[in-house]
Symmetry: none
């Protein structure tokens, strides 16, 4: 492909591990120092690298700019697409993608079950906050005071025998979700369906969306559903990486 470009990008990658001198960098890409210098000059003119002192080069400020622009550009929906489609293909169950936008939880994508079943969700629809797994995931990421405010304003309509009906119980549930890293809707929304959901994270670790898997109870009992947790969490993780999240260690 393009040799000089390839070398230059290797240099940038190398600089990510810390500032380096001209000769160190020449060693990495195994070329003469004059060649390295010309590459660095070009990189410098685009602010990809910058000099630190006289002898060292380090990553430049263009990278911050680009990373932020890239993040804004990228919408969760497209980024999560493949991971979610895979999960749907693997399990055959309904997969939802939802995000939190000023006080509401919205379904922004859906991969239908291959099993025939009725589901009342639809892209663009609001999810009830007190009885869906995605809402629990998304709200559990809000700062404490904000969570209290929201919990207070929810209309706790009981939809099944399991529906949470008090702010106290709901806030306790959010705490559980937050520390567990996933949420469950144990037939709290519809009698015959239960769900699990997990957070998709962005570059700064913030929750940008939630994935959920919905399964009819006749197909899988509660333990069977929880058995899919590792798969769901792996999916959420893959989607997070696409959204700019970097796993630590």
């Amino acid at each position: 492909m393009s040799q000089s470009l390839d070398r230059a990008l290797t240099l940038v990658g190398e600089l990510a591990t810390g500032p380096k001198t001209l000769e160190e960098l020449s060693g990495v890409i195994e070329v003469h120092k004059s060649t390295t210098m010309r590459l660095l000059r070009t990189l410098e003119s685009h602010r990809f690298v910058q000099r630190e002192g006289v002898h060292h080069y380090r990553l430049g400020t263009a990278l911050f700019d680009l990373a932020n622009r890239a993040l804004e550009e990228r919408d969760v929906r497209r980024s999560a697409e493949t991971a979610l489609r895979d999960l749907n293909a693997r399990t055959g169950y309904t997969v939802h993608l939802a995000s939190y936008e000023d006080g509401e939880v919205i379904y922004i994508d859906k991969y239908d079950s291959t099993h025939p079943m009725r589901m009342y969700s639809r892209i663009g629809r609001r999810a009830p906050l007190h009885c869906t797994a995605v809402a629990k995931v998304l709200l559990s990421d809000l700062p404490e005071p904000r969570r209290r405010e929201v919990a207070k304003t929810i209309d706790y309509v009981p939809l099944t025998a399991n529906t949470i009906t008090t702010p106290e119980a709901y806030l306790a549930e959010l705490d559980r979700v937050r520390s567990a890293g996933y949420a469950v809707d144990n037939a709290e929304h519809e009698d015959f369906i239960h769900c699990i959901a997990a957070p998709i994270r962005g570059a700064r670790g913030e929750t940008v969306a939630a994935v959920s898997m919905s399964v009819p109870k006749v197909l899988l009992d509660y333990d069977g559903l929880l058995g899919h947790l590792p798969d769901l969490l792996a999916t959420a993780r893959a989607a997070s990486v696409e959204c700019g999240w970097t796993p630590r260690d």
Copy 2:
């Protein structure tokens, strides 16, 4: 310098404005599409760009990685984090962290306002030197001759009625900032926003960064803004201590 690298970096910059097709990109760097493709392939192999669908390219995930690594090396950011976060939580206003590098002032961190408001800043962006409080703080710490040089090269674009438009006025302002220990942007950048900023100092007393607080005028008048000065200065002081600065007596 290096032509192909230069072209490739231009491509990356172009992609920052949104996904593009092969031919659009060829138009930008004015080469044959086969040439563009080879560059994109190399960029793709380093995860600098990635394909979106069949016809589009967009920025890749390597940029997030690199940007994070680069940011971590500037450790002012980490050191100042808690103090800045506290200020943001206490006041609810937008808090910025900026540093001076090679003649430019760069935003290196940002804590968003809890009030809904539009702000055009972004991490990694350059701040205009003549009309932002952070730039005034950072430039006022430069040695006298250097200040003169910089003041001479600034393009004094008038952005509001209050924008400083001459080198003389700007240098006088820097003197004021230097002796006062804080800077003000009294709607000099945007009509509806005013800011105050203060220096964060390192072990040798040098200014390593600047904190600022930005407030829409509709929420707080000028005197109200200045009322927050003690809080801002305390924040800057706390951050300075984290950066190795020792308060004398």
